[in-house]
Structures are given as structure tokens and as C-alpha cells.
């Protein structure tokens, strides 16, 4: 039993090492890939613009829930006016980046992983290698960079829609004063809060895209293997996102 534990530990280490190695390969290939921006632009469209609807809808509802819950809680202390501050800080620093990243992993990450997995399964990647086209540079890096670029933008859109959702419930329905909602928010939210949100979303974007691309690229070339790669993408992304969230929050305190 001890031996099995040790083996699974070394397996995990090996996996981590190969992810890091893969990341370095991607980074090395990134500058030349930037020259062919049309490929990246297409991936931004695929993973970013197509995630827009789900991100906006979720942002609206998350903001509305924040408005409702925040109002109920703050009402007890007679400080409903702080609703704008509470909702904005919650959205910009935590909910925006984290929920967006989780949705992104579910919406775009799985698509990336299954696409690359299927390419591997149908020998398209080997075919490219035969034609002396580097599949990393032609296929993987644009997808990775597209995800990295889309994620902060999606998170920002999520936060803005969420703030309007909170405003919709708090101001329009619950009757918090509109002026104090916005002015208290402006005096309490600092640029550092926004920076923290942006740093988080960039980190999550890198983590999500890397995991999706890695799992897809190294998927077992069978139907089952592609399915497993997709599942693993979501599970690993979720854990890594929440872990990174804690680390970055602690670093910014």
C-alpha cells in the first residue's frame, strides 16, 4: 500500500512537471504566434465572444442576488446605503473573477479540451507534424492566448453587469437611494480593488486555458479519453482557480 501511495505521489509530481514544461513551450512559441494575429483573434471570438451570453446572464443574476442579500443584511444595521459598496467590492474582487473563471472553464475550457482531444484522436495533430507544421504554434498557442486575453475582459463585463444587477434590485425594487448607492461606492472602492480583480482574472485565465489545452493535447486518443480529458479540465480548473484565489487574496492583503 505504501508503494502505491508513493507511486501516485510521483505520478502527480510528474504531471505537474509536464504541465510546467508545456507552459514553457507555449510561452516560447507565443511571440511568433502573436505575428499571426488572425488565428488568435478567431480564438478570442470562439472562447470569448461565445461565452458572452452566459457570462452576462450569470453576472446579472449574481448581482441581483447580491443586491437582495446585501439589502436584507445591511437593513438590520440601518445602513442600506452601503449596498453599492458591498456589492461592488464583492463583485470586483471575488465573484467577478471566480465565477467568470468557473463558467469559462465550463463553457470554453471544455470546448478547447474536446476540440484538441478530437484532433489528437483523429490524427490531425500527427498529420500537421508530418507536414512540418508545428501543431503547438499553429493550434495550441492561439487557443491558449485567446483564452488568456478573453478572461479579464469577460470578468470585467461580469462585474459591470453584476453592479447594474445589484443596482436594479437595491435601488429600483428595494428603494435604496440612488445617489448614496453610487457615491458611497465611489468613496469606498479604490483602484487597488480593481487591480486585484484584474490580476486575479489574468491568473485564472492563464490557469484555465493552460489546463484545458494541456488536457486536450495529451488526451488519450479514444472517445473515452476525450471525454475524460474534458471532465478533468473542469475539475482541475475549479480546484486550481479556488486555490489561486486564496493565494492572490492573501498576497493583496
Amino acid at each position: 500500500m505504501f508503494k502505491e501511495l508513493w507511486e501516485s505521489f510521483t505520478d502527480a509530481l510528474e504531471g505537474l512537471g509536464s504541465v510546467v514544461h508545456f507552459l514553457f513551450r507555449l510561452l516560447v512559441h507565443s511571440p511568433p504566434a502573436l505575428l499571426r494575429f488572425s488565428l488568435i483573434s478567431q480564438q478570442i471570438f470562439n472562447s470569448g465572444a461565445f461565452s458572452l451570453v452566459i457570462i452576462m446572464l450569470s453576472g446579472l443574476f449574481v448581482g441581483m442576488v447580491l443586491g437582495l442579500q446585501g439589502f436584507q443584511l445591511l437593513q438590520r444595521f440601518g445602513s442600506e446605503e452601503a449596498l453599492g459598496t458591498a456589492a461592488t467590492i464583492g463583485l470586483v474582487k471575488e465573484l467577478g473573477p471566480v465565477v467568470t473563471a468557473l463558467l469559462f472553464a465550463g463553457r470554453a475550457g471544455t470546448a478547447l479540451a474536446s476540440e484538441l482531444g478530437l484532433m489528437r484522436a483523429t490524427d490531425q495533430i500527427s498529420a500537421m507534424e508530418m507536414m512540418a507544421v508545428d501543431p503547438i504554434q499553429r493550434v495550441v498557442v492561439p487557443r491558449f492566448l485567446g483564452g488568456v486575453i478573453s478572461m479579464p475582459l469577460l470578468a470585467a463585463i461580469f462585474s459591470v453587469i453584476g453592479i447594474y444587477g445589484a443596482q436594479l434590485v437595491g435601488v429600483q425594487i428595494m428603494g435604496v437611494d440612488s445617489g448614496s448607492f453610487w457615491s458611497q461606492m465611489r468613496s469606498a472602492v479604490g483602484l487597488s480593488d480593481i487591480t486585484e480583480g484584474i490580476v486575479k482574472s489574468i491568473a485564472f485565465g492563464i490557469a484555465c486555458s493552460l489546463i484545458a489545452v494541456y488536457q486536450g493535447y495529451y488526451a488519450t486518443p479514444t472517445a473515452e479519453g476525450v471525454g475524460r480529458a474534458t471532465t478533468r479540465t473542469v475539475v482541475t480548473s475549479a480546484v486550481v482557480i479556488l486555490f489561486l484565489d486564496y493565494l492572490i487574496t492573501a498576497a493583496f492583503l
Binding site: S38, F45, G48, A49, P152, S159, S187, G197
Partner: protein, 186 residues
């Protein structure tokens, strides 16, 4: 070609939307954004003994009208005072040099802000000027401490006199309290 055009259009509008959102977050939800694009301003400093929990970005008001914001807070280790730098709107450039600045609290437990009361001098504060007359923050804890000290003191007095009254009916009991209250009556 047609297809790549719609594709680029979609990507472009998505990126534009994203950056618009980022712009909204940095300028509309924070006070910092206002100072970048805000009206021309000038800076003056004021030294306080105690600023309480005054924060950078707190409003500066005259007669209740916001005329600027707190830009920077530093500690002067020579004078042991807090140096507060105020960023005032250029529109309000007729503040007399002998004006005084005090730190007030919004509501009972709200945030702190600086109120400037105009003086009577003919010269006005200029950029890098300094307000000499300042009044420190009202620290709620100090006041509560004083009230509490008074309260416990009066309570102790009450107990002493009660003990004295008890001692009169039963002379052996609590000789200490008895002498104490006698000393006090003297």
C-alpha cells in the same frame, strides 16, 4: 473573405465591450478615476495632531459643499504630526490663508472628512500652501473612555455611601468602608 469579416467584427466588438467594462470599473466605481480626468486642481497641506481614521480619498468640504479630496497622508516624525495633503478644485481658489481645517465624522459612526471654515484674511491659499489652524479628529473611543471613567467613579461613590449607611447600623462590619466614607465627608 466575407466570413473573416464578420469574425473580426465579432472579435472587435467583444474586445471593445471588455475594455469599456474595464474603463467603467476604473472610472465610475472609484473616486480615483475622477482625479485623472477631473478638473484642474491645486494642492495644500494641513498638519493635525490626530487624524482618527481619516482615509485617502475622503472628501474635503466647505459649508458642506465638496471642494476637493484627501490626496495623501504622511507622518512628520520631527513634529509628531500627521501631514494631510488636500487636492482642491481650482474653481475654489479663494480660500483665505487663515482658514481652519477640522476633521468631522459623517453621521455618528461614518467615515471621516475634512471641513474647512473660511477665515478673514485678504490673501488666499495657493498651490503648495498650508493651513495653519487645524483641529484634530474627534475620537469616539476617548469620549467613551471618559464617560465610562466618570460613570464608574460615581458608582464607586454610591457604593461607598451605601456601605457607610450599613456600617452605622452594624458598627463592627466593614470598618474600612466606614473610615473611607468618613474621610470623604471630611
Amino acid at each position: 473573405m466575407r466570413k473573416s469579416r464578420t469574425l473580426n467584427l465579432g472579435t472587435g466588438s467583444f474586445v471593445l465591450l471588455g475594455f469599456a467594462a474595464l474603463f467603467f470599473l476604473t472610472t465610475q466605481t472609484t473616486s480615483r478615476g475622477l482625479s485623472w480626468f477631473g478638473p484642474p486642481h491645486y494642492e495644500i497641506t494641513a498638519k493635525f495632531d490626530n487624524i482618527g481614521d481619516l482615509k485617502v480619498g475622503a472628501p474635503v468640504s466647505m459649508s458642506g459643499v465638496e471642494v476637493g479630496r484627501v490626496d495623501k497622508i504622511e507622518f512628520d516624525s520631527n513634529e509628531y504630526k500627521a501631514v494631510v495633503q488636500l487636492r482642491l478644485n481650482e474653481r475654489y481658489n479663494k480660500i483665505p490663508t487663515d482658514s481652519d481645517a477640522s476633521i468631522y465624522t459623517q453621521g455618528l459612526l461614518g467615515g471621516k472628512f475634512i471641513g474647512i471654515t473660511a477665515g478673514g484674511a485678504d490673501t488666499y491659499l495657493k498651490d503648495k500652501g498650508q493651513i495653519d489652524f487645524t483641529q484634530s479628529a474627534f475620537v469616539l473611543e476617548n469620549l467613551i473612555g471618559q464617560v465610562l471613567a466618570n460613570f464608574t467613579k460615581s458608582k464607586a461613590d454610591d457604593q461607598d455611601s451605601a456601605a457607610a449607611a450599613g456600617a452605622k447600623s452594624n458598627t463592627d462590619a466593614k470598618p474600612n468602608a466606614d473610615t473611607k466614607s468618613k474621610e470623604k465627608t471630611k
